[in-house]
Symmetry: D3
Subunit: 230 residues, 6 copies
């Protein structure tokens, strides 16, 4: 299945993406049942990075960024490019020149299970990138991979057209078909959290707001006045 570029993919609905973009990654991850979160070794290359868009996927090989050029042609406005690697690699497959190209094609961001370079320039031009490493290491253009096939990046499965949301907390994948439903669940969750936040800020305890006291006792929790009573 390597060496394939799929030209046409179905992208998640624009409206649903716009609604999902309002929420943080932690909220979206909870809203879809704590699933499809990338591993925490994937980090933004500068603080405050935030993005939400539809996935164009790339499968590349260690030390080789050829397919990132191929992917540029497949970008549509609103896309987030997702780069999976066939093996662990920290080389700098992406930098400011490619970011210039990706932005010109309409890409919002890049998520890359390899290294990224030119991080100062990327921050200056506000093109957000999440990667597993920062590295100036240059790459070759020698081996073909694929574009717009399902890939595993950061431990999560992504299909082309899925929604990818990323911020300082990490990266979450929302399947295309679930985008609208997850946006609803996130809104509901946020509303509930707003109410709880006010009560917590006023000094009420989560123990009481969430009614945990009985369950804790049932699970065996025991209170003592002093440590020598253990």
């Amino acid at each position: 299945m390597d060496g394939i570029v799929v030209r046409n993919i179905e992208r998640a609905d624009d409206g649903a993406v716009a609604r999902l973009a309002r929420f943080g990654v932690a909220t979206l991850h909870e809203a879809q049942g704590r699933a499809r979160l990338m591993r925490p070794f994937m980090r933004p290359v500068y603080p405050g990075a935030k993005a939400c868009g539809t996935a164009v996927t790339v499968l590349a090989h260690p030390g080789d960024n050829w397919m990132l050029h191929v992917a540029a042609e497949m970008i549509r406005p609103g896309d987030v490019v997702i780069v999976a690697l066939s093996a662990e690699n920290a080389d700098g497959l992406f930098g400011e020149l490619l970011a210039t190209s990706y932005r010109a094609r309409g890409a919002k961001a890049l998520v890359l299970e390899a290294g990224c370079r030119d991080v100062a320039e990327l921050q200056a031009m506000k093109f957000p990138v999440w990667s597993r490493a920062i590295s100036a290491k240059g790459t070759v253009k020698a081996t073909v991979g694929s574009v717009n096939i399902p890939v595993v990046c950061g431990g999560a499965l992504i299909h082309p057209g899925d929604v990818v949301a990323a911020d300082d907390d990490g990266i979450v994948v929302i399947p295309r078909a679930a985008a609208s439903k997850v946006a609803d669940a996130a809104a509901a969750r946020e509303q509930k959290e707003d109410a709880n936040r006010k009560r917590l800020a006023a000094g009420e305890l989560g123990l009481d707001i969430y009614g945990m006291r009985d369950a804790l006792v049932k699970a065996g929790l025991r209170y003592v006045d002093h440590i020598d009573q253990i």
Copy 2:
């Protein structure tokens, strides 16, 4: 010993804590004989974080933040909550809602040998957190742990009521009984460093200020003019 909450703990003296709060972690660590420093994998979730307070301790389990809610009730103004884990874990056990609750109870900071989420919100509300990872991964509330027992966090032993100081350089634990003495030693050290800083800034060498030249020669150090003389 699991499943216990100790209601009353003896906290380090307020005055001593206030004095310790003036110093950086590196100074405090030196002042108590280079001891009780957490391992460097524990990092602040945003730059510039700084805190000093009395420890409320928590023992939690991987992927489960139930005991962090239980701990909220035990917080007194000026506390720093310390969360140890029964096994290595990077899940996001703490976020902005719990921070709201902890702040309302008077907590100054959190130190957590697991993951933290909502880091942008925590930075915005200036609630400092030190953790081993940043992760949006949500948690369950299923298994009881303990509160206010001695714990090992970041490789350091902490008793409830000990002083915990943290900044960009790391986290150090000062035993409750030693708080005042360590504050004295830190002040003395800082005074000495102030004097040395002036001399170093003027171009004097540490070799001369600290009188190292003889010891170096005795230890075998040899100066040559050119590398081909080796």
Copy 3:
């Protein structure tokens, strides 16, 4: 060869260093054929750090910063001190006092395959450091190493007097004798990139600018319209 300090070293030409200082690490690394880059575990202790200078080299031992004091005397204005370790170590071998001394002697920066402390102070005084860890852990002064011998730091070989350039992307070593030639190559590369950047920003594809299409087909790349055509 341990226990040696070499007083006189040949440093790269001032003019060449000044020209190299204009370029980023990624460009310099490419300009010399993708060689002599330190591994990505070496990171700046604060964002935006940037330096370029001539190497004074140090070989130190775990948990011992004695030789960093010895090195201070060997610093000439424009130097970057490079500290290699005889074994993996994350202790805080360098902090604000040594930085004060190094700056007074004319050093521009430090690159250290160990830990660094006082990072807030270093950022405030704008003394850039690249290290493998941030750690408040104090050190002893008990064992001699060497100064101004060839060392391996961050996986790269450095001779005293070589040029070291460092920024947010990493650290690259340019051999003394190659300094001028690499500066030329970097300038040529930058010029070429400037032209390409404009075309990429206008929406042209790297595929066309770099003429990759034929090579990709020859390498086996195949385009399909829909994923079910694979």
Copy 4:
């Protein structure tokens, strides 16, 4: 999609599995175009482990092995159980008692992106396990996951019924539909390698057998007699 057990899955053809079982992982990985290999942090818990079978998949949560009991009921003779985790975890989710149960149900092996315990007992009973860690850490049974849904384990995507082959070199996934074709390709590859092995053992060079000399020169390789000719 969490909290689901799929009772009936289509398994790869018995004959194809038997043929695939004759080859090593490196050969199978090459035979299907260098794809679907798990990351090298997945290791056998004892040397010499080797297995090939059809995947029963499990999605479990950190520190919780409840779903491994649920999966036991789904095992058919010849299966290899694959356990994915919703977050990084090294706890000992599997040990000798579960191995006894799995073997009784016909399982050939376990692949687990978490910790394994009782490794001496597992070796004695010759039940092979590949895991990311060895850990005695016990687990709770509190949160449901899923069985027989597609999962990502060790960075590879696995569907229930796919073939999983594992040995000292790692773990590779062969899609159910491709099993027979990959077995053919592996046989062809092995035949070719047998021929080459004989020539290499006789002292012939790969340079000549594979005809690489021209391509190397074209790629810029240059031979010199002495290093001072560089």
Copy 5:
């Protein structure tokens, strides 16, 4: 508290140690409520290592094994020496000569949060060691630490005289006062496991033996016949 050697310590009762020695680490860890297990980065230096004895504790510094010589004098027959480090270190603090000395003094084993060398010789002489690394790196003898004070090793707190049990699965600490009680609990657990093992080996499911089916349904587990029913 550094620079102290405590001559006399109270060791756990011989009989209790002998009883504990019959069990594996996983069983002992469960028997005391899943507590006091070292982190899984602590590994035996050769397979099949197994030991159980009373702790003589050492606090040493990176790259310095002086205190391991001091500790030798404090060893009594049946002891296991536990070496904690004041900072992360992988140097080879222990080898075959020290093992010869320790064995002559009656030590059964060593647990060391640093590196170990001479592993072939240690295996030949059957002196078991658990460490965080294997490294030939030699050490200095320059800085004093302590012997027989409470230490944190592998993330676990150990008091001198506590029982330490170690095998292929890891290392567990049993507080001196709890030794007899934990031995009882381990025996009870093993008895129960023996009964369950027989039933599991006969093909019965844990689901039924442990009566999990109702709890699973209550927790939301749902069975479907085919994946397209999700």
Copy 6:
């Protein structure tokens, strides 16, 4: 300097290599002043591996083993091939076919800062390999590197023709010119250790044999009878 093969190198003297081969890595490393040891992430792919020979060096690129074929032609009987990588990489650059070729050319072993595959076959044919990972991941043949230039492997500098000794404890490099002198020093050290081993085995303490007691007291060590005397 990339893309170069140096045909003729000066190898260390045969007799010196034969004498060095009698010693373990830990002894050789001490005998040359605790220098030139590779980092402990370099491990043998099977236990009991041991080799000593003259270095043929290779600089390769991530995921590409082309230069390992080029190097085969440069091997002379008694060589150990050392493979450095231009960036961190764990792909399986070496396996049983190349080992067959290398052995036929007279190579004794391979040291590789990347991944190795076919480890069962390598153990069966007793061709020892030290690597940073075990991985079945196949590689391409697309980019030229160099053979027989100075390289950095495992953090150590190696010149072609240097002696490389490797065993279960790690890998050490002995410069060509120092081979005979280091063999002498190792023999002297071993003789001294033999004497000490006998005394230690008889129960004498290192404290007395090495005369450490005074230095310890001078360094501040203090003995107390009971812990409550601290």
